[in-house]
Amino acid sequence: MTDCNTFVSWLDQGSPDPERAAAAAHAAGCASCAERWRVDRSLERALRAAPEAAPVGFTDRVMARVGRGPSPLATAAPAMPWWIRAAMEPVTALALVASGALAWSSHGWAALVTAGHTLLHLHAPWLPSSLALTATGTLGLQVAAASLLALSSGALYRAVGRLAARGH
């Protein structure tokens, strides 16, 4: 470091260590740079000191505000409809796969249709007996089963959520 400009530029960079020895050598022979360095060190000490501590009662006031607001756990839930969150639950996926397998296997589907048909005739004997076996009836049963599955998944999801919240 041979000149004052380089020395000032070194101070502006925060007096990095690798050039400290060269800076000290320059300051030893230059009164104005030695003075600049002294001022810089005094400034750094002041900068590292606290500008001002937090006012009295700061923590209590924060805690009072926190106490008035909702718990972070209550606000942590993603803002998505319950049926999307329910659909992402592993138990829902499992239930869907199981019911899908049952519905599409010939024996399972036949058993389901027979059960549905019997139930239908027990509770609504006035309906035509061929309804459950027609394409419309089959589609209706599928839609009803899907809705029932979605609703029960939602109820199950919410019940598990309530249990988890109670645990916290």
Partner: protein, 200 residues
Amino acid sequence: MKPDAPLARSKDARAAPAATAELEAAWIERARSGDGDALRSLVDLHRDRAYGLALRVVRSAVDAEEVAQDAFVRAWRALPRFRGESAFATWLYRIVLRLAFDRAARMRARRAREARLEAHEFSPEMATAAEAGAGDAGERLERLIADLSEMQRAVVTLYYYGDRSVEDVARTLGIPENTVKTHLSRARAALRAGWKDEEP
């Protein structure tokens, strides 16, 4: 206003960083699951730096306290989503600065409106404790810092008082490291010139 008793002051935190880091990690974990006592410990640990940072940007004690309080409340609510990808302090200071810059912008707009309505009238709300006093080193420094830009004040405060590295400051402010270095260099030059002139 006088400061609270230093239960877990920032300087103590610097004296035993490893122990404090372990304690802090435990408090974060407990606070994340809703433990109020753990949150109180976190507030005690970071309140002075958070408040000091806000004060440097907004230059008003009342506004700085509101900003720092808001930041802690927001951090508490967002804590379950804090993944620890950055240090808790970096994350918290980012919230403080975002709120402080917003507040400072609103204050500037209000000042401009007031200036248009009442030219040359002094606004006591904008007077800081440092500006009101006269004499000691801290007050002289605050007067000099007041002349820096908001971004320079934030960079200088995070780097020196917040004890953050250039990389941390860049991450906290969301700006490139070279920009942080430039702000620091210009701020140092301006402060050094003023500091020398103001020395008794």
